[in-house]
Symmetry: C2
Subunit: 195 residues, 2 copies
DNA sequence: TGTACATCAGTGAACGCGCGTTCACTGATGTAC
DNA sequence: TGTACATCAGTGAACGCGCGTTCACTGATGTAC
């Protein structure tokens, strides 16, 4: 019927507040005020506060995962693949740091309740690593551990940025971070082969 | 006066519950029940729930930081230094995963309010990196970024373990993780020098 | 060795407030005739 | 083009429950004399 942009305002306000104070630190009243509507109106868009947080998280999570997976399709070679994903992530982060702060804060509450198989960002990285192994570019590695190394390097850098330990945009550092990620995975593979 | 082990029981129960459900997901009543005392008695040990979480976190955080710093004192060479710290961390994690789950969950609530300069785990890693640079073992790097890489590799591995993505003890993987961390830092330094 | 007293970790009931959720309602928009 | 009606995003007040915190109290332990 009516098609105002209220839902978009609510979503934006909620993500911003969740990022700043955590889901539990934000009340329905806070979100309603920030979005410029009454508390009751929120329940026209979400059945509960938990559902709101979960839905906002899941959407961002799946979209990020899908984008990372799409990048893999176009690249040939492990290094290019990782470089592409790291660059993409850094760009996303620079464009909307609050969204990633929200995701980092909320992941532990929400992730266990999400069916993330395949659609998750981790899956995209694991696919890249598994592909490199079967292409003979990379020795055998514990794939999960290698994925952890790649994700850890990038996410911890983003975290340091959120805390002001690292300043300025992340994107210019993407090549360096990608090199670090690749080197880390190769070092893991070297170790595994030896053992 | 009396010296029962009640405080220890409270601390243990609180960390266990906080790790499982997050600080906000646990009530004072929960903790009291788990510790086998009344709610009121909790306030003989902590002035508030927030102070309890903050104090438990700060203690573990500082102790971990101090232990990592101590390791640095005994090692010569960057690689040995990093290996020592990674191994130590993996050992701590294996010994008490709940404590680290608590720390990972609570860090965003508590860290901003803690005076962590110098005593934090990050500081120990940064010291190791800075030392390697001034010893000529390592090219110039953005120290914070290099520290992020090292922490990220180890912490994300621990996180994957908490989520069941990686199973079995972490300690046997410490050498591989340390190699990955060293390779990552060296790759960052290579990039920096080139630029 | 007794006795009186201070201390303090414990109890358990009560308080009160903040918060998520509900509900009767309003009024604007789209649709059927 | 009007008129009657269904729909539904909005309002704002009220509800009620869970939770952190308080408080008067108890009784065991350590200490002074």
């Amino acid at each position: 019927v009516r098609a105002t942009g209220v839902k978009a305002k609510v979503d934006h306000a909620a993500i911003e507040l969740f990022a700043a104070r955590g889901v539990d630190g934000v009340s329905i009243a806070d979100i309603a005020t920030a979005a410029g509507i009454s508390q009751g109106a929120l329940y026209r868009h979400y059945r509960s506060k938990d559902e709101m947080a979960a839905q906002l998280f899941a959407e961002a999570y799946r979209r990020t995962g899908a984008e990372l997976a799409a990048i893999g399709a176009g690249k040939q070679g492990f290094a290019a693949h990782i470089r592409g994903m790291v660059e993409h992530f850094c760009g996303l982060y620079d464009a909307d740091p609050a969204l990633f702060r929200f995701m980092l804060l909320a992941q532990h509450d929400v992730l266990p309740e999400i069916d993330d198989s395949g659609s998750a960002p981790v899956a995209a990285i694991e696919t890249a690593i598994a592909g490199a192994i079967s292409a003979g570019e990379l020795g055998a590695v514990e794939i999960e551990l290698a994925a952890a190394a790649v994700m850890g390097i990038v996410l911890q850098s983003a975290l340091f940025h959120l805390y002001g330990r690292v300043t300025g945009p992340l994107l210019p550092r993407a090549p360096a971070l990608a090199r670090a990620a690749i080197a880390a995975v190769e070092a893991l593979a070297r170790g595994q082969t030896r053992a």
